[in-house]
Each structure stands twice: as C-alpha cells, then as structure tokens.
C-alpha cells in the first residue's frame, strides 16, 4: 500500500514547501548557499541524533531530491546527503568518522563518496603495503560533485582485499580532482586520480556489516536519488508545458485545446504518475531497508530516468520555438534528464539486473505449476 502515515505526510509537505521556497530564491546560475542548505537541516536528515542530525530517513532526503530536480538546482546536495552521509552511516563508529558526520550535519564538512558515475563494477582503488607504509592508488571518472568536496570518501580494497572506505583530503599530495564539465551546467563532476597517497591507519574506515552488500546498497541509493531528481524535473516540465499550452494561442485557439497538444500532455501525466509510484516504492525500500529494495531501485531508476527524457523532450516540442531558446530554460531540464539517465546505471543496465531474477523463478513456476503464491516484485 502506498499510503504514508498522516503525520509523515504532513512532515513531507512542510519539508517540500520549505525546499520550494529556499530553492526558488536561489540564483538560477548559482547553487543555493551551502549555509542555508545546512541551516535547513538537509545534509543532516539521515545523521543520527547523537551527532546532531535529524534521525530521519531516506524518505525525507527524497523529498529534497525531488525538489532539487524540480528546480534544476545546483550544488553538491545529492553527493553529500545521499552518498557522503550514506557511506558514513554504513561504517563502524570511530572518532574521525563520527566527527565527520557531526560536521556534515552542521554544514561544516562537505564529504563526497568517490563513486564512478558510469561503470558499475568494482572500485579501482587499492591500498598497497609498501616500504613507505600503506599507499592508496586508483582512479574514478565522473565522480558526482568531487570538485566541491572537502573530504573524499574513497571505496578501496585494503591489502587483504576487503572493501573499506578511506577518508582523504582532496588537497593531499598525489591526489588530483580534474573537473569534467558537462552540458548540464547545473552539475559538477570530477575525475579523481590517486597515485601513492599515504594512508594513515585512522583514515581507513571499516563497514559495519557485509562490505560487498554495503557497496551494493550505496549504488542503489545513488540510483534512487537520480530517479527522485528525474521525477521532480518531469513534474516541473509537465507543469510548465500545461501552463504554456493554456495561454499560447495559434490559429485563434489556445494550443492546449488541440488534441495533438492535449493528448501529449495526457501521456506526460501518465508517465509522471507511473514514475511517481515506482519512485515512492523505491524510496520506501531505501528508507526501510526492505528486502525488495534493490528491485524497486532498478525499476524506479530505469523507468523514471527514461521517462524524464521523454517528458522534457515533449516539453521542448510543445513549447515550440520558445522551448528551443536558451532563455526558456527547457534545455536545462532536457540536459539534466539525459545526464540522469546515464548516471549510476543506464535503464538497460538496471533492466538487466531485474531480468536476472526470471530464470530461477520461471523454473520454480514450471516445477510447481499453479501453486505459486509469490509475486515477482
């Protein structure tokens, strides 16, 4: 059942209203000030109360993410709140990690996880034992908001092959963060290259549970974050298009009265509605750490991010010549939608993950025909 408890729903409405206000005020050409974002408590939403966080869940972060998509907002919020805090929460407690969480909630630290934006395989970072002590090396391309980070959380294999997180200062000798400008000017990416950066023992942090599982969950969070962003931007594009079609006249009629326009808008609303349900389920999966979370994440990512490109594209089409101008800003959404689609796993890749489940299930179904009660989802 998709319904939320009434209290939660009200809390979300309030968060949403604050976010729309704060993001609406920001200059379109610049990110909202990190102080105001921290002041609103957003980086610390999932930080435990013990570290001055809000003790909330991914469900609340998702509200902000959607609004960021709706506003096509700039700034490293997703990288920090979804990936930075996400990583830290998966780690064992320790003085440095705990301090970083506290600083993040306060807005004093901007930690970003060094996750490859496209290739979904294993991390390339390794800690090698050398005569000069343990040294880190490796590279990751298209790391979301790496240039904005003041702390990089690098997933690496320690000399025993165990996945760990290394907290590294981006200014450390041997580390470079090369900006990767993209067409979507609202986003920042960096290529992180690490050559023999020395790793003091206190900067190596271990995962609380199964490290492989932790990394997988981090990737799911990243995927769902993109789905939230794409849903938000789809809603904005639908609203802008409906508003435009309700005032623009051609051939003596509001263009929204033409079926070609009206039906296209209807299709956009259907896509947005379906995306909304899939994203809601994926967010619940992340917030409650439910068993179907990975499946829900892949469904939301593949559907919402593909739909957003179609919705933003339709918005450009229905805005006519106006939509093709730089000034209209529709292109900002189209570029962001196209970027979201490729980031953290393409739709095809996520569908491949989904399809891996069919083979054994199909066999089970064939073996015990008619008696199966398990839904695939």
């Amino acid at each position: 059942m998709p319904a939320e408890s009434p209290g939660l729903s009200e809390l979300h409405d309030e968060l949403r209203a604050v976010a729309r206000d704060l993001l609406g005020k920001a200059d379109a050409e610049a990110a909202a000030d990190w102080r105001s974002i921290a002041g609103a408590g957003w980086p610390g939403l999932e930080v435990p109360g013990a570290f001055d966080g809000a003790d909330a869940t991914f469900a609340e972060v998702a509200v902000i993410l959607q609004e960021m998509g709706r506003a096509a907002a700039r700034g490293p919020y997703a990288a920090v709140a979804v990936l930075g805090v996400g990583v830290l929460n998966l780690l064992e407690s320790g003085p440095d990690r705990d301090r970083l969480l506290r600083d993040t909630a306060a807005g004093d630290a901007v930690p970003v996880a060094v996750l490859e934006g496209e290739a979904m395989g294993e991390t390339s970072f390794r800690i090698a034992r050398t005569a000069r002590g343990p040294l880190l090396h490796g590279t990751a391309d298209f790391v979301l908001d790496a240039p904005a980070a003041d702390r990089l959380l690098v997933p690496a294999l320690d000399p025993d092959g165990t996945p760990v997180i290394v907290g590294v200062d981006p200014r450390a000798a041997g580390l470079s963060v090369e900006r990767r400008p993209v067409l979507d000017a609202t986003r920042g990416f960096g290529r992180v290259a690490v050559t023999d950066v020395s790793v003091p023992p206190e900067s190596v942090w271990r995962f609380r549970g199964d490290p492989q599982e932790a990394v997988r969950r981090l990737r799911d969070r990243a995927a769902v974050a993109m789905a939230c962003d794409s849903l938000g931007l789809s809603k904005a594009m639908l609203e802008a298009t409906v508003a435009y079609a309700g005032v623009r006249e051609q051939f003596g009629r509001k263009i929204g009265s033409f079926q070609a326009v009206k039906h296209a808008c209807a299709d956009m609303l259907v896509q947005v509605s379906v995306a909304r349900e899939l994203v809601a389920a994926a967010v619940r999966g992340q917030a409650g750490d439910e068993p179907g979370a990975a499946v829900a994440a892949s469904m939301a990512k593949s559907y919402a991010c593909a739909a957003a490109v179609e919705v933003a594209g339709k918005a450009m089409q229905l805005h006519g010549g106006m939509g093709y101008t730089w000034e209209s800003g529709v292109h900002v959404y189209l570029k962001r939608a196209a970027l979201n689609r490729s980031l953290f796993g393409s739709p095809a890749l996520h569908r491949r993950r989904l399809a891996e489940r069919y083979s054994p299930l199909a066999r089970e179904r064939l073996d015990a025909y008619g008696g199966s009660e398990r839904s695939l989802s």
Binding site: R351, R365, E373
Partner: protein, 395 residues
C-alpha cells in the same frame, strides 16, 4: 487494521484459495458451451459468496463491508492463485449495485441486491450504433404513457445480454432538451415483450456482446432510477463503478498471474530450441513490462486507498491498463510465434491475459475501445486532470 491482522487475513484467503479454486479449470473451460460457462460462473459465484468474497465492496447490511485493505489482499490472492474471474456477475455486482446503492429507491435495492447475490444477471444497455464515444448522442426513446414508459430503439455492445435477467438502460425522455439533459435511467426486465437480443460476433470469434432491439417495450415507472431526465448524472456513477477496485483486480491479474504466464512462456524452448529468456532482447522487454506492471498495480492501489482521488485518476488507470495489456499481449504473441496462432479459443472465465497470446492481443482492443476509447481518455485526462481548454464544439 494492523499489519498483523492483514497478514492473518492473507493467510486465510490463501488457505481458502488452495482448497476452493477449481483444479484445471482453464483446460476444462476451453471450448465449452454457453450453458457450461454460465453454470461454471454461477457455481463459482456461490462458492465465493459462501466465503464472503463475492461482494466484499458492498455495504455490510447487504452482505459486504470488507475493509478496503482486505479487499486489496483478496484480489491479490485470487490473482496469485489464478482463480476464475466473475465475468457473468460483473455488471450486476458492480454497475447495477453501485447505481442502486447511490440512486435507487429502498424498494429497488430490496428487490435487486439480494437477487443479485442469488445469481440475477445484469447487462448494460448504454451504447448505440450512433452513440459510441459520444454516448450522450443516444437516440433510444422512452415515451411516458400513464404509469409506464414505452421504449423504442437499439442498443449495442451489451455484454452478456443473452443471459441477462435485467438491463441498465439509458433512453431519451425529452428529445427537445440538450443532449445530456433529456436522458433517463431505467431498470428493464429482460423478459418484457418487445425485446429482441441478437449476438454480435467479435474480432476474437466470441459472441458475448449483443445487440438489443427494443420495440414498444413497456417499463413500469417504478423502474426509473433517479428523477426523469437526470439519467446522465446517474450513469456517471455507473460508468465510474468500472474503475477502482475492479481495475485493481485486473491489474493484479495482469501483473501477477499474467506476467508469470509470460515468463513461463519465455522459459520454454522455442522452435529453434533456444529459450526466449536467454535472448537479451526478450529479457529486457520482460523487465520493462514488469516495471510497468508494478507501476500499474501501485496506481490502482493508490486509487482505491485514496479518499479523494483526482478527477482523472480513474482515466489514467484505465488508459494505462488497456495500452499496457495491448503491448504485453502483443509481445506475448511475438515471442510465442506461430504456435500462439493455433490457440483458436481461449479459456472462458479467464482474465484478459489467458495465455492464448494472439487471441489475447486481439481481445485487448476490447479495452482500448469500449468504456471511452483511449483517445477519449486522453482528452479527459488533459481537460479534467490538467485543466487544459476544451476543443471548440463542432455542433
């Protein structure tokens, strides 16, 4: 209702399904006669009724009263256990009942609701040859004569009319009023003289749709529902009854049992010996369909849970279900290949995805055309859901 209560209810429904869903009914109901179909449907209806599962959506005083959350579980489990569908009782328990409950008199309700539980079959007499998408253009006339109305005209697309005891009838009582203002809503006894029912064969080869010819059919005035000339407004409720929980049931069948049929098909070796499932193109389509089906099921769940749904939410669900059904059965037909063309009949009492994929594909137009075509739904969604301006009227 707590989560634990619901889980317990689910277990109860599962146990019931295991014990009561007829074994092998799909095979046995393929190619049966009309009579066998009707008797199978009536038996299954009574089986469900004994369990309290036949009309869970009715008010408690009439034999229903199941909380919405439990109804959702019930339909999920019936779908998961591939139970037969209530095809024959559909109009009676949904359209007729909701009309009577919303606009009928006490006498009408007392007369018909218990009878429906006992197996009274209803048919909907709305569409006409000249009034399909433009339903309000209907021209069947009902002329008041004393305590009765005399009806003349022709109805189309009356599903199951051949077996029906009663008909929900729309007829024009004021020919001079604007289109929607002169229509009245009647309950018509199908045994009344002057009624001629002829089966119309459909694209699938079946003939569950009928034409109804009405020649001076006398309907007592006490069978009028709501005020005279207010039939259009009453009908809006009846049309609305097709949505909500009935859509949830269909979505559960498509997404649960139906999708499993499809995966099962893909896991069988094809004519070349390879399993379609091992073809990445097929796997990708399956994943895309499962994703869409999951979205559909969630949309339906929201629609029934929402106390104040948006003005186009039901249209969104209807449109999305019909087109997804069409795409899914089309894909099934492609994957199944020539073998699917040899399934000349589908099992009666099954859902819209019976596993006879080509027939199911052709049958899917029964969803994209009636009850407001997909084109009409898009206009409703654009106008009511998004507030876009209406078309200039041509007439």
């Amino acid at each position: 209702m707590t989560r634990a209560d619901l889980d317990e209810f689910r277990e109860r429904v599962r146990d019931w399904c295991r014990a009561h869903v007829p074994k092998d009914w799909r095979r046995e109901q393929t190619g049966v006669s009309d009579e066998e179909f009707v008797s199978f449907q009536q038996e299954w209806f009574q089986e469900l009724r004994r369990a309290g599962f036949a009309v869970p959506h009715w008010p408690a005083e009439w034999g229903g009263g199941m909380p919405v959350a439990e109804q959702v579980v019930l339909y999920q489990e019936l779908a998961a256990h591939d139970a037969p569908r209530l095809v024959l009782a559909f109009v009676a328990i949904h359209h007729a009942a909701s009309t009577l409950l919303a606009a009928g008199t006490d006498a009408q309700r007392r007369r018909h609701l218990p009878a429906i539980l006992d197996g009274e079959i209803w048919v909907q007499g709305f569409s006409e040859p000249g009034a399909g998408s433009d339903l309000a253009a209907l021209s069947t006339s009902a002329r008041r004569e004393g305590d009765a109305y005399v009806v003349n005209g022709q109805k189309l697309w009356a599903s199951g009319a051949a077996h029906a005891d009663w008909c929900l009838l729309l007829a024009r009582t004021d020919p001079s009023a604007p289109k929607r203002r002169g229509i009245s809503y009647f309950l018509m006894d199908m045994r009344t003289p002057g009624i001629d029912v002829r089966a119309v064969r459909q694209a699938t080869g079946e003939s569950h749709f009928c034409e109804i010819f009405l020649d001076d059919v006398v309907i007592p005035a006490e069978h009028l529902v709501g005020p005279e000339n207010e039939g259009w407004r009453v009908a809006q409720r009846t049309l609305g009854a097709e949505r909500g929980m009935t859509m949830l049931e269909l979505a559960e069948r498509l997404g649960n049992g139906g999708f499993r049929w499809l995966v099962e098909l893909c896991a069988r070796p094809g004519p070349g010996g390879a399993r379609p499932l091992d073809d990445p193109l097929v796997a990708d389509r399956l994943a895309a369909l499962e994703t869409e089906l999951t979205g559909l099921r969630a949309l339906c769940a929201r629609l029934v849970a929402d106390e104040d749904p948006g003005p186009a939410d039901a249209s969104i669900v209807k449109l999305y279900y019909s087109e997804l059904l069409q795409r899914m059965t089309d894909f099934g037909a492609e994957v199944a290949g020539l073998a699917a063309h040899t399934a000349l009949r589908k099992p009666l009492s099954s859902g819209w995805e019976s596993g006879a994929w080509v027939l199911d594909f052709i049958g899917s137009w029964e969803w994209t055309i009636p009850g407001g075509t997909s084109e009409i739904q898009r206009s409703i969604i654009g106008e009511r859901g998004l507030g876009l301006p209406r078309e200039p009227r041509g007439s």
